[in-house]
Symmetry: C3
Subunit: 245 residues, 3 copies
């Protein structure tokens, strides 16, 4: 059993985030929270999402799992306007999720959860951390994307601040945020290279004002942010490109 | 002779409605009104449009007929902004329609009316009728279009209200408007299936706030609405899909 | 040496104007001004642009030349928002232009100026001149573009005013601006035909409110306008189509 109501914006945000790495996802439903974990087919990016029941307007659930086709749920969510409430209701016997938006009722077939992986998200402790305003990350990405032959960016945190930079054959781009504009914690400087396309895809759909960026030399980068007034917690992990000297 | 002025929005609305079924249309001009009738090439949808002279800012006409290429007139109407007046002038000797918008003069070649059909719009009396707000119809269509394998919708009127619904292989959508929000007249419940694409095309261009939907089991649906402050009357007829048991 | 700051809108305007005729341009930098000259590959259109140092927020320069790839600079300029300042810095030893926008630094490889032509812009004295509001020219072009088989327009200035007109196989369009709404100087009426696509491309990117149109029968048309509060002067020359009788 699963009956819940959520602001349409919040649910759209959750779905657009998870859809940056997978087409289908297993939603693991518990009495007090709902979780979604996903790893992309190339095993480069991973998402761990925990949504507390307080992120919902109303929430009633037994332990259950449902498999969502993300393109299908996105097309359903387009039916909701900005202030609308999404009501979701799952009855295991029907094998369907009923989504109600105002006087529209939309019943969706589900994906067999047996076919969906349940990735283990590794615990990684990373040396440095900086809370970076989202608009700065977005600017940095657009600067990197303005160079046609760039496919990796370098992220760096040191005592001076945060830097996102990249180099093509003839062109360079860099965005620097000074330490004074960041909440920063760094034992030592750290930097690594990451794929631009993955990084861009996730940053485009982050709805919060800032992101905690944790990194370490030749380690994955971890992006941490909350949505739904702090009731939904998202961890995004992206593998580095190891530079061979 | 035909000299008339009309608000550009009104004329755009008339043209976009008729263009949902045909590419070329015969405009039958009379001293007190102008009519356009059209049937689509598959004989599935039909429009009957009567525009009183009071729908115009000024109107002077003898009995005459002119053949319009609708793509051409649409491209001319794009030259008019929201508050503009369209002036039309037809001189039979030139075989051209002169359209004036501000200080732009645009003379258009006409289509030979001999090649244009003059469909007879059948009189059909339908059992039930409901005046449905247009935004509800639009929502229902968008819900239907969110299912990839749907090409027909079911319209139903009964004592509880109006319902637009459809079913794909795995998914369902329905929009219900309760009788309390409708002007409804129904002897008995009635429902039929209609092609989604035709229904969607006409509903997208209806500029009025509500539409009178008349239907009957396994009969065409009739959509009735007025524009130009009640001075232009449109009847749209759409053939049902007969379900074989 | 070249260090300069400019409002992003002004620099975008200059680049979009020059990009209507070429993909790469030589920027000739002098202590008191900067010039760009360009001729399109078919030798139909030519631009001469003189930007005084007062068009800049700050300007420091020796005599030098740099070659710009216009698609590249356009993609860099997209990083600037409406109120942003563009800082440009050129160090001849690096062979790069460094563009700074807020905390983004973007270094661009340059085009070898040896490969770029330096067209001589001919002095032409034209018989008639009219200062035409830009929105009228834009309307006239849209009217011409609403006829599918038109590729030339006729520009005419006479004592009654300015006219932009064209004729396709079955359709005609014309825009007339009466002399009373123009600053006009005409010894005798003059008119010529010009290619619609070139004329449309330049008019679309002119950011000033009016344009001085100079013309003469079977001569090029000259469009003259200023931007940057009168500190940047642009001359655009477009060759006529000579009508053979």
């Amino acid at each position: 059993m699963f009956n819940a109501e959520m602001k349409s914006e919040t649910f759209k945000n959750l779905i657009h985030i998870i859809a940056t790495v997978v087409d289908e996802v297993k939603m693991s439903i518990h009495p007090d929270s709902l979780t979604m974990k996903a790893i992309d087919p190339s095993h480069v990016a991973m998402i761990d999402m925990v949504v507390d029941k307080d992120a919902f307007i109303s929430y009633e659930a037994d332990d259950t799992e449902i498999g969502l086709d993300l393109d299908k749920i996105k097309s359903v969510l387009k039916l909701a306007g900005p202030g609308d409430t999404i009501r979701m209701s799952h009855n295991p016997e029907q094998g369907m999720l009923t989504v109600t938006i105002g006087n529209i009722e939309r019943r969706m077939g589900l994906v067999d959860t047996g076919s969906l992986s349940d990735p283990k998200v590794p615990k990684v402790d990373l040396a440095v951390s900086a809370k970076v305003p989202l608009d700065q990350l977005q600017k940095g990405i657009r600067a990197a994307e303005s160079i046609s032959d760039v496919d990796h960016i370098k992220l760096e945190v040191n005592s001076e601040g945060f830097e996102l930079s990249c180099a093509g054959d003839t062109d360079l781009a860099s965005l620097r945020v000074p330490a004074s504009e960041l909440e920063i914690s760094a034992d030592a400087p750290a930097h690594s290279m990451y794929p631009l396309d993955y990084f861009s895809n996730i940053v485009k759909v982050i709805p919060s004002e800032s992101v905690e960026v944790q990194l370490d030399t030749d380690y994955p980068v971890k992006l941490l942010f909350d949505i739904a007034e702090g009731h939904a917690h998202i961890t995004y992990l992206l593998a580095p490109r190891i530079e061979n000297e």
